[in-house]
Symmetry: C2
Subunit: 183 residues, 2 copies
DNA sequence: TTGATAATGAACAAAGTGTCTGATATAGTC
DNA sequence: GACTATATCAGACACTTTGTTCATTATCAA
């Protein structure tokens, strides 16, 4: 890819990210992104169709990176204690978030959090599907899966909101307690 | 209140509601509300400062109605089995949603669901605070409360999304199982 | 009936969007 | 280094949406 394109794309992402920490997605104008990234109007539109497309691409970038380990790691975890495998995976995920590569923090805890949660949950669902034994059998499967995904997403959001005071290990352990996997 | 105002307000709410079922809040223009409600531009702005204010007022209206029973009902439930009190309360809440007075359905399950969830959760938090014994003591209180609220909100949203196939009693019971209150 | 007030409709400035232009600068290739 | 392709630029453009204003008309409550 042309260096100029890389540079522009990077500048747009950085500007967008900074603005997202300050204000809600809906209240960010293309003009503000232009000014912050210091690029021309037509340049922006040659990279992204709309502001929504920019958001989507950014989410993909961020979460693909964060979950690359979580999802593609060989499922070689200890099957005799598979819940520990999950606990480690969640701990790892939280550490990853704490590293804050790609600036997920501002994005997930910020005013536009809801928008990102949608994408975040898709990745979480894929993760949980790797642990079918965690999904209770005495309630409808989709109901149970939705519970796991939704509550973990909410827990992560809350954790970020508290500036990640709790250590990742503790947060992961407490979460597993709450969903009833603390044997 | 002047009949004219009532009529206008009602028309605006109805129009807004209809539009919310069709498209996302962000993509609804004031002009569309005006046309749908068949009122003048200046009339709208004499009732609501902005589109956001309209959303907020609508949420208050809807949830105040739904939770009026839940929250103000004398906490005269059987303390010896207080979790059953909660189960009944949730069941009651689901029935209320099924009645769909105020058209919560389109609103919670629609494209703009995220916006309403925020308000919905505030009411749910108030509800759970009436059942302190449901909040686990072995994890930080706020973490536990956030889990209850977040997961119930997600469960309700999921339930609505499935056209409320499961009977309220069953959904409430399953939810309590998932949060570990199925003794 | 009458005085108060709500609704009307039309016009308005301001701000934002997405498109298009021709000129300029810079990248990758030979 | 020269050459070609193309990314960026600046700015203008038509268009949509927003929120305000005002004079006029219709409706309410007493």
């Amino acid at each position: 890819m042309d260096r100029r394109q890389q540079k522009t794309r990077k500048a747009i992402f950085a500007a967008f990210n900074k603005l997202l920490e300050e204000k809600h997605f809906n209240n960010i104008t293309v003009q503000e992104i232009l000014d912050e990234a210091n690029i021309g109007r037509s340049t922006f539109y040659s990279h992204f169709e709309t502001k929504d497309a920019l958001l989507k691409e950014m989410c993909t970038d961020i979460f693909d990176h964060i979950f690359s380990h979580e999802l593609h790691s060989e499922t070689s975890h200890d099957f005799s204690s598979s819940d520990h495998g999950l606990q480690e995976k969640i701990t790892h995920l939280l550490y990853h978030l704490k590293d804050n590569r790609g600036n997920v923090l501002g994005v997930l805890s910020g005013e536009s959090g809801e928008l990102f949660m949608k994408y975040f949950k898709e990745y979480l669902a894929a993760m949980f599907r790797q642990y079918p034994e965690c999904i209770r059998q005495d309630v409808p499967r989709e109901f149970a899966l939705n519970h796991l995904v939704g509550s973990l997403a909410e827990a992560v959001k809350w954790w970020i909101g508290t500036k990640m005071e709790m250590p990742p290990e503790e947060a992961a352990e407490d979460y597993l307690k709450l969903i009833g996997y603390d044997h």
